[in-house]
């Protein structure tokens, strides 16, 4: 069987994952499987048309990242971001893709050592409470208990 993504190499991996709310099983070559089946990140999802349109508009506007020179078109084509600054320059355009992969979410994990200042706690708590409610609705009690602990831990020092 040939790889269902690149149609070039022999498929050697069966990969099942959730993409845009659906369960998808694919048979991929080692190379495509390593990329997590996400090699054509901006293709094959319902919103790629949207991103492609944006890219076209951008080509007309000629907007480029001042730091690394990437255009949105280049990013869409390669599925790879040019530099950390690109995330600021093209944030609005990249957000639909990011939300499709991770859901509407903000980072709550580790921070680099020298950047200890926390994002506003209020926002984090709101996010956690949302998640908790969802976990309870889904009857995912293990997750709910975890979230409850996390919320308690955050509320503690005050």
């Amino acid at each position: 069987m040939l790889c269902e993504r690149c149609s070039r190499n022999q498929a050697t991996t069966m990969l099942t994952q959730r993409v845009g709310g659906r369960t998808v099983t694919e048979h991929l070559c080692a190379e495509c499987a390593y990329k997590g089946g996400f090699s054509s990140l901006f293709n094959g999802f319902p919103f790629d048309q949207m991103v492609a349109n944006l890219a076209r508009t951008h080509r007309a506007s000629g907007k480029r990242c001042p730091s690394c020179g990437s255009s949105l078109e280049e990013i869409v084509e390669s599925g790879r971001i040019g530099c950390s600054e690109c995330y600021t320059v093209f944030r609005r355009e990249l957000m639909p893709t990011i939300e499709n992969i991770h859901g509407k979410a903000a980072h709550i994990g580790k921070r680099p050592l020298h950047r200890k200042e926390e994002p506003p706690k209020r926002l984090l708590l709101a996010q956690l409470r949302d998640d908790l409610q969802k976990a309870v609705q889904e009857e995912n009690y293990e997750k709910a208990a975890q979230l409850r602990d996390e919320i308690r831990g955050m509320a503690d020092p005050e």
Binding site: Q17, C68, R80, C83, S84, L94, T97, A106, G109
Partner: protein, 337 residues
């Protein structure tokens, strides 16, 4: 120093190995497609000097310029899961930091600037993450990582945004496979936001009944939550595998198959990798369920990491053809089993 796979595995009856990796990029350099080669060389130096400050106990880091390895040596690293395929495509200016026991491998100038990977025998997500985290702390004392308050650690691919943490456990699921509920399991697991994969050969089904379960979402969850979500689901899969094993092992045909596999591994003079993986899988089931007492899981783990084509050639110090590999593979297995 003994390699990581010789360590006694946690939950080794089903857990083969655990892998945790963190993706990091350094703010001052553009990402992969845009970084200059002088930037790459500078990055290698920075990582090297940062890691000099790390105390690994008896374990030590080696620093390897990928270009200085032979093609075979590089592929052997891939076979042993110490580097990614992407890492090997263009060896120029790429550096691998490898601990003596091979449990830590840090790829510098891979897709992301830095990928820290820790391997553990059996299922040990906590242990693997803790070490990854410690290495990340040491690196971030001197390196300024690209980070955003909302998006977390910034990565080349948006799929890794947030924690940059990818954790996976490789599970041995021969009984679930035999009672044919793997497709159902794959659906359930992916519904929980995880990815499940198996490597398979042409007509043999998944090689060695080994399935890897990994987290997928990296944004909006803390590292601890990612790890414990994965842990919970892996535990449930393990429980169902244990249940299925209790059923199928009442069957003398299954026991017979296990013991025949042991016989083949113990006495064969030539063996292909496909055959070896299939029999190693059967023997593994036999050892886990105490049907075979003669072999240890540690030995089986060592064999899994030793019978790859390139690995055998590197070991023999010459390029082996297929026939020579089959001879060497059979000899290595006979020696250890």
């Amino acid at each position: 120093m003994e390699k990581w796979y010789r360590q006694p595995p946690h939950q080794g009856d089903i857990g083969i190995s655990t892998r945790v990796r963190l993706a990091r990029n350094v703010k001052q350099f553009p990402f992969k497609e845009k970084i200059s080669s002088s930037g790459q060389i500078q990055l290698n130096q920075m990582v090297k000097s940062a890691l000099k400050r790390m105390d690994l106990g008896h374990n030590k880091f080696g620093f390897i310029e990928l270009q200085e390895l032979s093609e075979l040596e590089r592929i052997a690293l891939l076979e042993q899961n110490l580097v990614s395929r992407t890492f090997l495509t263009k060896p120029e200016n790429r550096m691998l930091v490898l601990s003596e026991d091979h449990s830590v491998s840090i790829m510098v100038n891979e897709e992301d600037h830095i990928r820290i990977q820790v391997l553990r025998s059996g299922m040990d997500l906590e242990g693997a993450y803790q070490l990854c985290n410690k290495i990340d702390d040491i690196l971030s004392e001197t390196l300024d990582f690209a980070f955003d308050d909302t998006l977390g650690y910034l990565t080349v691919s948006p799929t890794n945004l947030g924690t940059g943490l990818r954790a996976s456990v490789l599970l041995h699921l021969p009984a679930l496979e035999r009672i044919q509920i793997i497709p159902q399991l794959m659906k359930t697991v992916s519904r929980m936001g995880l990815v499940i994969r198996g490597s398979y050969g042409e007509e043999t089904g998944v090689i060695g009944s080994a399935y890897q379960i990994a987290n997928q979402v990296t944004l909006g969850l803390s590292e601890q939550m990612e790890i414990s979500n994965l842990q919970n689901i892996v535990r449930q899969v393990m429980e169902s595998e244990r249940g299925a094993r209790a059923d199928i092992l009442n069957n003398i045909e299954v026991i017979d198959e296990i013991c025949r596999s042991y016989g083949i591994l113990k006495y064969a003079r030539m063996i292909t990798s496909k055959e070896a993986y299939a029999h190693l899988s059967n023997v593994r089931l036999g050892v886990s369920e105490r049907i075979l007492e003669e072999v240890s899981l540690e030995t089986l783990n060592q064999l899994l990491n030793s019978v790859g084509e390139a690995t055998l050639s590197v070991r023999a110090n010459q390029h082996l053809n297929a026939r020579e590999r089959d001879l060497d593979r059979a000899r290595l297995i006979r020696d250890l089993i």
